[in-house]
């Protein structure tokens, strides 16, 4: 049986459903008999909900900001391809997708 400290340490991963089946079972087993950690779990779930709610409220995008953001792209049309061929700054991630073979 895992300790309260271990159970609490895993609670958020438990709530995010990111635990392995074994770890998940260990937390379930602990919560089945530990009232204190059930309280911790209930509180963590509520806190998680509060954070997610805050994430749903976005600052509005002002029209002038949108215009400025898109206007910069127009300046690229005045360049030739060769002039802007700077591929040193890779953004990472998506380039790992395999090319069609």
């Amino acid at each position: 049986m895992i300790s309260c400290a271990d159970a609490v340490q895993r609670l958020w991963s438990y709530l995010e459903d990111e635990l392995t089946a074994t770890d998940r079972q260990a937390v379930d087993d602990h919560l089945a008999f530990c009232r204190r950690c059930c309280g911790e779990a209930e509180f963590a779930a509520e806190l998680r909900h509060l954070l997610a709610s805050a994430g749903e409220v976005s600052p509005p995008l002002p029209d002038d900001v949108e215009s400025r953001l898109l206007a910069v792209l127009d300046t690229f049309e005045t360049f030739d391809d060769a002039e802007t061929a700077d591929s040193a700054d890779q953004p990472g991630g998506n380039e790992e997708v395999q090319r069609d073979s």
Binding site: V8, Q9, W12, S13, E16, E18, G39, E40, E42, F43, A44, E46, L47, R48, L50, L51, A52, S53, A54, G55, V57, S58, P59, P60, L61, V65, E66, R68, L69, L70, V72, L73, D74, F76, E77, F79, D81, T84, D86, S87, D89, Q90, P91, G92, G93, N94, E95, V97
Partner: protein
């Protein structure tokens, strides 16, 4: 270079949430960071093979941009160690022990209901970047931990530590904020 008209059509629907995320992660620098990210996305537009993945692709480029800016601002930011995992009392435990709302039947839920969304953001904005950014990405924008670790360029274990410690810091800060702004006193009056 790709066609700007087509590129704009692809990114325009994503601008509102991208700008929101940029504000949350970069504050006053949001527009500059997003501008740089869009330019980068445009230059690497040929790497977007799957249109369904546009949101994740743009998010990753934006997060990279934020990360680079933070590194620039604090040259050794990525070396900031995560605080040692101390045996600090959880907020739940503190609420049970200190019982600040003695007339409440559901103390912990009543405590959290004292906070408005702007309160939550005010608390988050005071956390150091290396705690706030993972919390915002994972718990507020629902980015899976593996993807967040990838976007931030840290090992998954580091990100999980930052999240764990970040949540503790966030809980401590909630308590301090409630005391400073007397949120509980207002609440007690209402109960």
């Amino acid at each position: 270079m790709p066609d700007t008209t087509e590129f704009k059509e692809v990114v325009r629907p994503h601008l509102p949430w991208l700008f929101g995320l940029a504000c949350r992660l970069a504050g006053d620098d949001a527009e500059d960071v997003l501008q740089d990210a869009l330019v980068k996305a445009y230059r690497h537009y040929d790497q977007l093979r799957d249109r369904q993945a546009t949101a994740a692709w743009l998010r990753q480029i934006l997060v990279n941009q934020v990360r680079d800016r933070h590194r620039h601002a604090a040259r050794h930011a990525e070396e900031v160690p995560v605080d040692q995992d101390d045996e600090s009392t959880s907020l739940y435990r503190r609420l049970v022990d200190e019982d600040p709302l003695p007339y409440s039947d559901s103390l912990h839920l009543d405590f959290l209901s004292c906070f408005t969304i702007p309160d939550v953001w005010a608390v988050l904005d005071d956390l150091p970047d290396h705690y706030r950014t993972p919390l915002v990405l994972v718990h507020m924008y629902g980015v899976p931990t593996r993807e967040a670790a990838n976007a931030l360029g840290v090992p998954l274990g580091t990100l999980l530590s930052q999240l764990h410690r970040g949540r503790q810091r966030f809980e401590d800060a909630l308590w301090a904020y409630a005391e400073k702004h007397e949120l509980l006193a207002d609440r007690q009056g209402a109960l």
